[in-house]
């Protein structure tokens, strides 16, 4: 079983099965297109990923390494969020900061399935909440000029999605 070494932003080196590491599009590209030779024993630097997060992501990748390619979805329709598998659900039962770190790292590592499941989780946290509740949940600053938010809310009342 071939392995490669990954080095995180805080200098931790991980030895990972090549197959698992290739769950990351970024690493796959490095190995296949750029021709970084894993046999050299030199670690691939992942300067945007912290060791605690990479460790978590590797657990996910190990579990999903044999997953088939997901079917293409209709880009326009609102996508489902109730189809998160229970393993992923447990995996993402983490504090918000860890979840966001995992998302950003998954984005950097180009792991589409992990990003998708994280986005579903965040979408579920947003669903049904008012703008103010969303702001409090995610600690987002209301940067609208005074009065502007009311106008937007009012204007939103006159909008609906066009389906035809």
């Amino acid at each position: 079983m071939s392995t490669i070494k990954l080095e995180t932003s805080d200098g931790v080196k991980f030895t990972v099965k090549t197959q698992v590491a290739k769950c990351s599009g970024t690493i796959r590209t490095m190995l296949e297109d750029i021709g970084i030779n894993p046999q050299d024993g030199e670690a691939i630097p992942l300067s945007n990923v912290h060791s605690t997060i990479l460790q978590k992501i590797l657990v996910w990748a190990e579990h999903h390494v044999d997953d088939p390619e997901p079917p293409r979805e209709d880009a326009d329709a609102a996508k489902r969020t109730d189809d998160i598998c229970s393993w992923d659900e447990d995996f993402l039962k983490v504090d918000q900061r860890t979840l966001f770190d995992v998302m950003l790292a998954a984005n950097y590592l180009d792991m589409k399935q992990l990003i998708a499941v994280c986005c579903k989780t965040v979408a579920n946290m947003i669903k049904g909440k008012t703008a103010d509740q969303i702001r409090r949940t995610f600690n987002i600053e209301n940067d609208f000029p005074p009065g502007e938010e009311d106008k937007i809310r009012l204007r939103n009342q006159f909008c609906e999605e066009r389906s035809r």
Partner: protein, 387 residues
Amino acid sequence: METKEDKLTVPELSDFPNEILALIFQHLRFPDRLRMSAVCRRWNELVFAFFGDRIMLHLSASTDCSVPIGKLSDRSYRNVQVFWTEDSSGWMDAVEDLAPKLLSLDLYIMPEERGFLAKWNPPPSLMEQFLRILANLESLGTLFINTTPTTFGAVLEAIHDLTNLATLMVEIRIDDGSFALSSFNGLCRLPKLRAVSICSYVPLCAPGKDRLVPAPFVESLTLEQYSPCFSILNFYKLFPCLTKLDVRQVEMDPEELELVVVTWPALEVLVIGLNSSLLNTTALEMLQQLPKLRKLELQTQVYCTDECIEFDFLQASFYLLETIFQIPTLEELRLVHGPVAGIWWSGQIPTDAPSCRLYINGIYVPRTNDGPSFKCDASKEGTAIMS
């Protein structure tokens, strides 16, 4: 495992890259997306950047004009629905700004509260602005208009240069007058127009000495005609090249159905209303003369709950299917119950045309070699009971 002293910055959702936020937005339904647009300025911009072209803006007399309407054009509204009344001039200016980029426009030229019985026609000053807006809809693909015959005549003249118009839907409300079919003559100048839908509550007048000019690009016609002056031949003169015809609302007799078949032999999709005069093998056999018919939808129009007539209907439905499955090109048959309860479809489904899909009230009915019998309760919409 060795760890260096780490100092992570706390990640915030508001700092996420646009593409991740867009992925999150994709998993939300529309009301949630709109609420997200009110969270902060960046999200507001993102929601409109990603989904703006699918948002429809409603403007009506009840629209609060304290909304800074002048800023509407900053948003990428591509679909607008307007209830256009005398007191709506405030935001009509905004619609005028939006006009060149609009993809679809729904226009109700009526005082909102009076509905489709309103005999209201806009005064000249408003009409002027309205026609100016219509002339600027250069990107528009879909136009819906509900108005009186008087106003509609002017509208049809104004849309002759909308080169991107693909779908035109008109509802002509009750007025004192009638509407001359020759007013549709200008549609021949619209090179992309493929689909026309006409719903008229006033008589559509035969052209008299005026000639009807064909619109050869129109492939699809929907007629919702409540006045008694329906004439297939006149519509043929206007739309000679149809491949799709929907006349489910039109009360036809067998002679008229035959005329449809003879007039538009290229029909591939046909939707008709089944009344008692069409519920016989002879009438429906005529459909076999359509050499390209792929999809057929039959919507029952039998307005009767009398048990005796119901029995007749059941017998007829059996033969009806046999006859229809003889159409060799047919890929899809849809049986839809009209808005009346108390009618049942039942019988043995013929199996000798296995390539044709059968749907009853929108539900796919698989057909096996055993020829499953089916019955369908019209009182419950969307039900098909297999037995």
